[in-house]
C-alpha cells in the first residue's frame, strides 16, 4: 500500500500461466510449435530406436542409449564441431580438418559446456531450439508476402521436411535457419541493428549465410528514400554484416592458425575445391552414377536439389521477392562449384523460399495430404539411415 492507500500490485502484470502464454502465441504460431514438437518426436524416437536396436550395424559404434542418449544425432560433422568447441581449430594440411566447420555452433556449445552441459547435449539443444526459432521466424517472414495460411503451411512443412532431421543433429543448420529468417524479418521491419546481428550470426553459422546480404540490400534499397541518415547508416551496416562476419572468420584463422585461407585448405582435405569447372565436374559425377560408390545417396542429393529448384520457381511466381529467390538459388547451386552434388540436400535446407514454394504447391489439398502423409515417414527414414551416409 502506498501512503495514499493505493495498491502497488496493480502496477505489475499478473504472472502469466503457461496456458495463457500458449494462447497469446496465436493460432498460427501454436500450430508451428505443435508441428515442431511432433516432428522432433519423430526424429528423436527414430534416433532412439536406431540406438536401442543397434541397426544399422556399424563396427565399433554401439553406444548405450542410457549413457549416450541420441548419440546418433551427434555423429559425422558433429564430431568436428565438438572438436572445435573442445580445443579450437587445427589445420592439418592435406587431411580432413576442422577449419571447414564454421564457428558459431562450437562457440555456443563451448558456452553451454561452461555451465555444465556436455558438448553433445549442448549441440543438440542449440540445434533444436534454433530450429524452433527458425520456424517461427519463417512464419513471420512468410506473412510479409503471402496469405497467413500459406505462411503457416510453409513453416509446418519445413518442420516435417524429410531432410529436416539435420536440424536436430549437432549441425549449425537450425541456428542458421533462425538467423537467416530473423535477419529477413528485421530487415522488413527496418530494425537494422537486429538485422545486422542476425545476418552476422548466419554467416558465422554457415558460409551460405552470407547470401542473406542480397535480400537485406533489396529491403534497404526499397526503403532508402524514406530512411533518415542514421537509419541509412544502420541499413548499410546490416547489408555488410554478413560479409563482415565472413571476413572475420578469415581474420581469425589468420590469427589463430597463421593461415587466413585455412577454410579453403581444409575444404581441400574434404575433397572440395571451388572452381568454375566445378559445376561441370558435378555433372560428370552424375554421368558415372551407376558406378559411384554411394550412387543411391548421390541420387538423393540430386533429387532434393531438383525439388529445391522447382520450389524456388513456384515461390518466385507466387510473389516471394526476387532477392530471396536469388539468395536461395545461390545456396542450392553454388555448392556445385565444388565439383559434387554431395550434401546439396543439406545445403538447400537454408534456402528459405523453398518452403514458401512448397506451401504454395500444397494449396492443392490432395498434394498437401500426400506430403503430410509421406513427410513424417521420410523424416524417420532419414534418421534411420544417418549412419549409412553423412547428410
Amino acid at each position: 500500500m502506498t501512503a495514499s492507500g493505493e495498491s502497488v500490485t496493480a502496477a505489475y502484470p499478473a504472472p502469466r500461466t503457461a496456458r495463457a502464454w500458449v494462447y497469446e502465441l496465436g493460432a498460427g504460431r501454436r500450430a508451428i510449435v505443435v508441428a515442431w514438437i511432433l516432428s522432433r518426436i519423430v526424429v528423436l524416437a527414430s534416433a532412439a530406436l536406431v540406438q536401442v536396436a543397434g541397426w544399422p550395424v556399424r563396427a565399433g559404434w554401439r553406444p548405450g542409449f542410457g549413457r549416450h542418449p541420441f548419440a546418433l544425432l551427434g555423429i559425422w560433422d558433429g564430431h568436428w564441431y565438438r572438436a572445435v568447441a573442445d580445443h579450437g581449430y587445427l589445420l592439418v594440411p592435406g587431411h580432413r580438418s576442422d577449419p571447414a566447420f564454421f564457428p558459431l555452433l562450437p562457440v555456443l556449445m563451448r558456452g553451454l559446456h561452461g555451465i555444465g552441459l556436455s558438448l553433445n547435449a549442448g549441440g543438440l539443444l542449440l540445434a533444436d531450439l534454433g530450429f524452433l526459432a527458425g520456424l517461427l521466424a519463417l512464419y513471420e517472414l512468410g506473412r510479409e508476402w503471402l496469405p497467413e495460411p500459406d505462411a503457416r503451411r510453409a513453416a509446418v512443412l519445413a518442420a516435417f521436411f524429410p531432410f529436416g532431421f539435420v536440424f536436430s543433429m549437432v549441425y549449425p543448420e537450425g541456428l542458421a535457419l533462425a538467423a537467416l529468417a530473423l535477419a529477413g524479418v528485421w530487415a522488413l521491419r527496418r530494425r537494422w541493428l537486429l538485422c545486422a546481428a542476425c545476418a552476422a550470426a548466419a554467416a558465422l553459422a554457415r558460409p551460405q549465410g552470407v547470401f542473406v546480404a542480397l535480400p537485406i540490400a533489396a529491403a534497404a534499397l526499397a526503403g532508402w528514400p524514406e530512411l533518415r541518415l542514421s537509419e541509412r547508416a544502420r541499413a548499410v551496416t546490416a547489408v555488410l554484416a554478413g560479409p563482415a562476419a565472413l571476413a572475420s572468420v578469415y581474420a581469425y584463422y589468420g590469427w589463430a592458425l597463421g593461415d587466413p585461407l585455412a577454410w579453403s585448405k581444409a575444404e581441400l582435405g574434404w575433397g572440395r575445391s571451388f572452381a568454375v569447372s566445378g559445376v561441370a565436374r558435378s555433372f560428370r559425377e552424375l554421368g558415372g552414377v551407376a558406378t559411384h560408390h554411394h550412387s543411391a545417396w548421390l541420387v538423393r542429393d540430386v533429387v532434393f536439389g531438383v525439388v529445391y529448384l522447382a520450389c524456388l520457381v513456384v515461390a518466385a511466381r507466387g510473389g516471394v521477392p526476387r532477392a530471396w529467390i536469388v539468395a536461395g538459388l545461390a545456396m542450392v547451386l553454388l555448392p556445385l562449384g565444388s565439383g559434387s552434388f554431395t550434401s546439396d540436400a543439406r545445403f538447400g535446407l537454408l534456402a528459405l523460399p523453398v518452403y514458401f514454394g512448397l506451401a504454395l504447391l500444397a494449396r492443392d489439398r490432395r498434394l498437401y495430404g500426400l506430403i503430410r502423409f509421406a513427410s513424417p515417414a521420410l523424416l524417420a527414414a532419414g534418421v534411420v539411415t544417418i549412419w549409412l551416409k553423412s547428410p
Binding site: V84, A85, D86, H87, G88, Y89, L90, L91, V92, P93, G94, H95, S97, P103, L104, P106, V107, R110, G111, A196, A197, A200, L204, L229, S230, R232, A233, R234, A235, V236, T237, V239, L240, A241, P243, A244, A245, A247, S248, V249, A251, Y252, W255, A256, L257, G258
Partner: protein
C-alpha cells in the same frame, strides 16, 4: 547535399560493418587454441607431404649404409632400396613386392626409413590427434640437434617398435627417421626431396 548525406550514411555504415567484424572476431577468440607444439606438428604434416620423391641414406649399423628412394603417385608410394628390395605403400599398409633379403627387418620399418611422405604424414597426423585428445602436447616436440641443425624429434609410434621423426625447427622439413626395436636402432637421413607440382 544529398550526395554528401548518402556518402556519410555509407561511411558510417562501413564503420558499423567493421564493428560487426570486430565483434565476430572477438566471439571466435572465446574458442580455445591448440598448444603450439600441436600447431607446428600439424603444419609439418603439410610440409612432409609436399614431397613427391624422397631420397634417403639408411644407416643400418657401423659402416653399413644403403640408399632408398620413395616415390608417390596418387595414394600409393613405391620404395626402392639399394639392395634390390621393392615395396608398395598405401596408407599405413606396406607390401613387399620382392627382393627383401631375409636378414632384413620388417617391411614397415623399411618404408619408415625410406621417408615415404604419405606414410610419415599419416603417422604424424595420427600422432597429433592423439596428443590433442590426450592433452600431452607438451611432450610432442622434443628439441634436439641433428649435426649443425636445430631439430625437433617426434615419437610417431611409441611401443616396442618406436619410430621417431626428426624435423627442422625452422622450416619443419623432415630430416630423418630413427627406428628402435628389440635389435639395434637403425636410422636414415633424408638426402633429397622433390616437391610435387602444384
Amino acid at each position: 547535399m544529398a550526395r554528401a548525406r548518402v556518402a556519410a550514411a555509407v561511411l558510417i555504415g562501413l564503420l558499423g560493418a567493421v564493428a560487426v567484424a570486430a565483434a565476430a572476431f572477438g566471439l571466435q577468440t572465446s574458442l580455445g587454441r591448440p598448444p603450439r607444439p600441436v600447431v607446428l606438428a600439424a603444419r609439418a604434416v603439410g610440409e612432409i607431404e609436399q614431397a613427391q620423391v624422397v631420397r634417403t641414406v639408411e644407416r643400418l649399423g657401423p659402416g653399413r649404409t644403403l640408399s632408398a628412394v620413395c616415390s608417390s603417385s596418387g595414394r600409393t608410394s613405391l620404395v626402392s632400396v639399394g639392395d634390390g628390395a621393392l615395396l608398395a605403400v598405401r596408407g599405413v599398409r606396406v607390401h613387399a613386392l620382392g627382393g627383401i633379403p631375409s636378414r632384413r627387418f620388417h617391411a614397415v620399418v623399411e618404408a619408415d626409413l625410406a621417408g615415404c611422405p604419405r606414410l610419415l604424414g599419416l603417422l604424424l597426423q595420427q600422432r597429433v590427434r592423439r596428443a590433442l585428445a590426450r592433452g600431452d602436447a607438451e611432450h610432442l616436440l622434443v628439441p634436439v640437434r641433428r649435426g649443425s641443425r636445430q631439430a625437433y624429434r617426434i615419437v610417431l609410434t611409441p611401443g616396442p617398435l618406436q619410430v621417431d621423426l626428426e624435423i627442422d625447427r625452422r622450416t619443419l622439413e623432415p630430416l630423418g627417421v630413427r627406428v628402435e626395436s628389440a635389435g639395434p636402432a637403425v636410422s636414415s637421413s633424408i638426402a633429397g626431396r622433390q616437391r610435387r607440382e602444384s
